[in-house]
């Protein structure tokens, strides 16, 4: 029987009520007294020298408060990068300055040049049109390989080239891998593109800066996944504001998907300008502006080689990737194609030797950084595509080739050749579960039925691994992170027993206010309604690192459990005192403390009251009050995995692909709220199908963004997607966190693109079109052209 409360229950989300009644509090819903509005004048060329800016006409317009340009930011730091990658020769990456407003040069369409502050948004926009910017356009570099060719125009004149770094991993294996590939019985090679995407949370970014001159305090309201990270980066590196004078609030945030992790120039601008004009400053991005200013995702060009022995066992893997950084290094950009990508290249398989080379390249495009999955989709896509291709070349069933090479359940913990140790997993179980759910055995019947309707049916398999719960701080510090990656929580028990949990995690759709409350309520045995979750405000929560990388329950949840355990330890001492018993004899069940082996008991609420009204209290032993804080730094990543099966129909006349079935069998370890977990998978799969079939961020050779609105960038719509079959019954709990949880936020976006592409390739082969590969998105024209190429 399903639980109706606590861990494992599909509790309905408490945050829904405000969202369903229009009473959420998103950043754009915040309006401050005497507020002004900022409009950014952005470059409409990809690369150019700014000869001069004449803002006199704009400044003279009614309602204009002030115009800002780079000269107003002299002495202000650049927008910092949070991760330094060391290249394969031991040298640090090339790291250009990223000014708040363009200094002397523009480097991508959308690079901000000037900002108008006016009494209304309309006046600010009108005045921005009156600014005269004299720019000499320069040749742009857009293609990554062209960008690192001899004589290419340089995005940053002060760097030696457009190569940010040339990274090798594991560098000592380089020659051994080459040798193994040379000597292998079979080598499968694949060249592919992981298409550039725009995250597109439905809420565009917004920032409101406020300054209180009386006490020299700044407040930034912003659409962020991690307000403390913004406070640290902006306060310490850009504006030089000490933390006790800077509050960052990220209220209800309308989706993030990674692109709201990063510290953006607009946040620094409104904070700086609010002090400069001594009035609140609000900036709201239009969607068009989001396309040219939100960090993009993916954009890898890869060649992968998989070597197999005569028994079809994997012996070596080599992959060479060009990764686009765009024009500047966004907050975590350097880590995505390296440590979040290379360390996952073993996949679910026993592959003795792996070598990963990544060349990160500057181009005249919007910066590229983490997008749902961040590096792991790129690793999974190439690996699961090349494994599928190998199976076809060897005449093997793709499920069987995977099974043959899977790490076996009894081999965990398993040390991969790419530096990480998977603590648990059972890949055979998830593969078998997906096979069972999809009725693989009767596929031929369905294919025949499709054929009768003139359609080609195909079946695609992918099996993913991901690393979540980023991450042990000492490890990521060694790898170049300039931050720790712990999480924090304060459990504050009120005098009558209700609880506020202040978490450093941030919810922007994940439902933490519900799931986190389930955990604490379950630990104590009280009703979930007695627990409130507070997040998204540096003034109300302990220093935390925020939500990304599917880390919230694994790291933030663990911090909360640790803090709650401290509370319970103290509460037991109070209960022991009240019942005149020994601490060790106190038991807690259903909100009642009792003395083991007796009928003595005291209610949770009475213990809490005693803590705050300590008339009868062990004051010589413990302090009054019942509030504890914990910081949790994980011992390892967590390793969710799963089998994703996709069934498609291809119309041979048009090349149009339709997803007719999708099954996800995930191992997330223990699950707190199955309803929310399934919702996370649905959304991730939709984004993965979007990448594989619809979405593409396209620049022309001059660096103009061709897909700059929803008219051009194909967001998945309801009619593009099927119902999804989602299962999470295969559970190998994480061994190193207190809840045994792994994280579920990104899995869907990781496992689904290769499943879909594999399905389409399968459909084409079955239909007599031996197409080896089609780059995403698999639009009708791409599929149809690929079919014609093999006719």
């Amino acid at each position: 029987m399903p639980k109706d409360q606590g861990i494992g229950a599909s509790s309905k989300r408490r945050e829904d009520v405000r969202f369903l009644t229009g009473t959420g509090n998103y950043t754009d819903d915040i309006n401050l007294v005497n507020q002004t509005y900022a409009h950014f004048l952005r470059s409409d060329v990809a690369h150019g020298v700014i000869n001069g800016i004449d803002a006199s006409a704009a400044e003279a317009m009614d309602g204009v408060v002030r115009v800002f340009t780079a000269k107003d930011f002299e002495g202000v730091g650049g927008v910092p990068c949070g991760w330094q990658v060391t290249d394969r020769h031991g040298q640090p990456m090339q790291e250009p300055k990223h000014p708040v407003l363009a200094e002397g040069k523009v480097r991508h369409v959308g690079d901000p040049i000037a900002v108008v502050i006016a009494e209304t948004p309309e006046l600010a926009r009108d005045a921005a049109e009156a600014i005269d910017v004299d720019i000499t356009e320069l040749p742009a570099v857009v293609d990554m390989k062209a960008a690192v060719a001899e004589g290419a125009p340089k995005v940053h004149d002060d760097l030696t080239s457009n190569l940010c770094y040339d990274w090798g991993f594991v560098e000592e294996n380089r020659e051994a891998v080459d040798q193994a590939i040379k000597n292998a019985a079979h080598v499968t090679t694949l060249e592919l593109v992981n298409n550039r995407l725009v995250a597109n949370p439905m809420e565009p970014r917004v920032a409101v800066g406020d300054y209180n001159r009386a006490n020299d305090e700044h407040t930034l309201y912003t659409t962020s996944q991690n307000p403390h990270v913004i406070r640290l980066l902006m306060g310490a590196f850009v504006l030089g504001i000490p933390e006790h004078k800077l509050r960052v609030v990220a209220p209800d945030v309308g989706g993030g998907f990674g692109t709201k992790i990063f510290h953006y120039a607009e946040e620094a601008f409104v904070t700086f300008a609010a002090k400069a004009i001594n009035r609140p400053v609000k900036w709201t991005a239009s969607r068009s502006e989001a396309f040219i200013s939100d960090a993009h995702g993916r954009d890898h060009v890869t060649k992968i080689e998989l070597a197999l022995d005569a028994d079809h066992k994997f012996v070596a893997l080599r992959t060479d990737t060009y990764a686009n950084m765009g024009a500047y290094l966004s907050t975590f950009a350097p880590s995505v194609p390296t440590w979040l990508h290379g360390t996952l290249m073993a996949g679910n398989y026993i592959t003795p030797l792996v070598y990963v080379n990544v060349k990160a390249v500057f181009t005249n495009t919007v910066p590229v950084d983490a997008y749902r999955g961040a590096g792991r989709p790129e690793a999974t896509f190439q690996l699961e595509r090349v494994v599928d291709k190998a199976a076809r070349e060897l005449g093997m069933d793709p499920a069987e080739l995977r099974r043959l090479n899977f790490i076996k359940p009894e081999q965990f913990p398993y040390d991969t050749p790419v530096a990480v140790t998977y603590d648990t997993g059972n890949y055979h179980a998830t593969l078998d579960k997906a096979l069972e759910l999809t009725d693989y055995a009767s596929f031929d019947t369905r294919a025949a039925e499709s054929k009768a309707r003139g359609k080609l049916r195909g079946f695609g398999i992918a099996h993913y691994i991901e690393a979540c719960g980023i991450a042990p701080s000492n490890l990521v510090g060694q790898l170049g992170a300039r931050a720790g990656l712990y999480e924090s929580a304060t459990v504050r028990v009120n005098a009558t027993g209700s609880i506020a949990v202040m978490t450093g995690s941030h919810s922007h759709g994940q439902g933490h206010e519900t799931t986190f409350a389930q955990v604490v309520a379950d630990m104590i045995g009280i009703d979930e309604s007695q627990v409130d979750i507070v997040h998204g405000d540096t003034a109300r929560t302990p220093m935390g690192m925020g939500t990304y990388g599917s880390r919230s329950i694994a790291v933030g949840g663990s911090a909360m459990v640790r803090a709650a355990e401290k509370v319970l330890n103290k509460a037991k001492k109070i209960a022991a005192h009240l019942m005149e018993a020994a601490d060790a004899d106190i038991e807690l069940k259903d909100g009642q403390f009792s003395v083991a082996g007796t009928d003595k008991s005291v209610a949770w609420g009475d213990v809490c009251l005693a803590a705050y009204v300590p008339h009868n209290y062990p004051l010589e032993e413990i302090e009054p009050g019942l509030e504890e804080t914990a910081f949790y730094d994980p011992a390892n990543f967590t390793y969710p995995s799963g089998a994703y099966f996709c069934e498609v129909e291809v119309d041979p006349g048009t090349g149009k692909v339709e997803v007719v079935g999708f099954t996800a069998a995930d191992d997330f370890g223990n699950v707190i709220n199955p309803m929310i977990v399934e919702g996370q998978v649905h959304g991730g799969v939709a984004q993965g199908i979007g990448q594989a079939m619809l979405e593409n961020c396209v620049y022309d050779d001059n660096g103009q963004l061709l897909s700059g609105s929803y008219m051009d960038y194909a967001m998945p719509r309801a009619s593009d997607l099927p119902m999804f079959e989602v299962d999470h019954s295969c559970q190998t709990p994480c061994t190193h966190n207190p809840l045994g949880v792994k994280g579920c936020g990104e899995a869907g976006a990781i496992g689904s693109p290769p499943a879909l592409v594999n399905a389409v390739i399968d459909a084409l082969h079955r239909g007599g079109y031996p197409v080896e590969h089609i780059d995403m998105p698999l639009s009708p024209s791409r599929v149809w052209n690929a079919m014609q190429s093999v006719k």
């Binding site: 829904d16 229009g22 439905m202 068009s288 609105s709 309801a718």
Partner: protein, 161 residues
């Protein structure tokens, strides 16, 4: 600036607007009805969907003055005065038809217009009707189920498929 009046959620309201002021801007900025969201600038996302004289419209495609004297319904007027959610809102909560909540007001308003015209839509009809509403979080799976459930049709309970 032009003065206009209209009825919003049953209340007569008035305000001064420029010719270029959009209905979405009027609702959000003049009336403080911030439940109506603006997610794009090309009339694609549908987060700003409201009802004008009973028809679902994207309030970013309409000037405020075009709605003068009209009867406008927004997300803020959908629940009962005591806060009880209407059938569609309740189904969205019951079937986890929302995550970040940003597209949700538009989805609820679009669903209401569908069920008014087609009380028992098929799954395909629901998906077709949502063509003008983009959600980035849910993959539409649970939105479709919520709307089917709100129409009184049998839908498997959450997390039990």
């Amino acid at each position: 600036m032009t003065k206009l009046t209209m009825t919003v959620n049953g209340r007569s309201v008035s305000g001064e607007v420029e010719g270029r002021t959009l209905l979405s801007t009027f609702l959000r900025e003049n009336l403080g009805l911030t439940g109506t969201h603006v997610g794009c600038d090309t009339s694609q996302c549908g987060a700003c969907t409201v009802h004008v004289n009973g028809l679902a419209v994207k309030s970013c495609t309409m000037f405020a003055q075009e709605a003068a004297e009209a009867d406008v319904a927004t997300i803020e007027g959908q629940a009962a005065p005591d806060g009880t959610l209407n059938a569609i809102q309740q189904a969205f909560q019951d079937y986890h038809g929302l995550q970040c909540g940003f597209c949700t007001p538009g989805m609820v308003m679009a669903a209401a217009s569908l069920l008014k015209d087609n009380p028992k839509p098929t799954e395909a009809e629901v998906r077709h009707h949502l063509e003008g509403n983009i959600c980035r979080c849910t993959g539409y799976h649970n939105i479709v189920r919520a709307i089917m459930a709100a129409s009184g049709q049998d839908v498997a309970p959450v997390a039990a498929e």
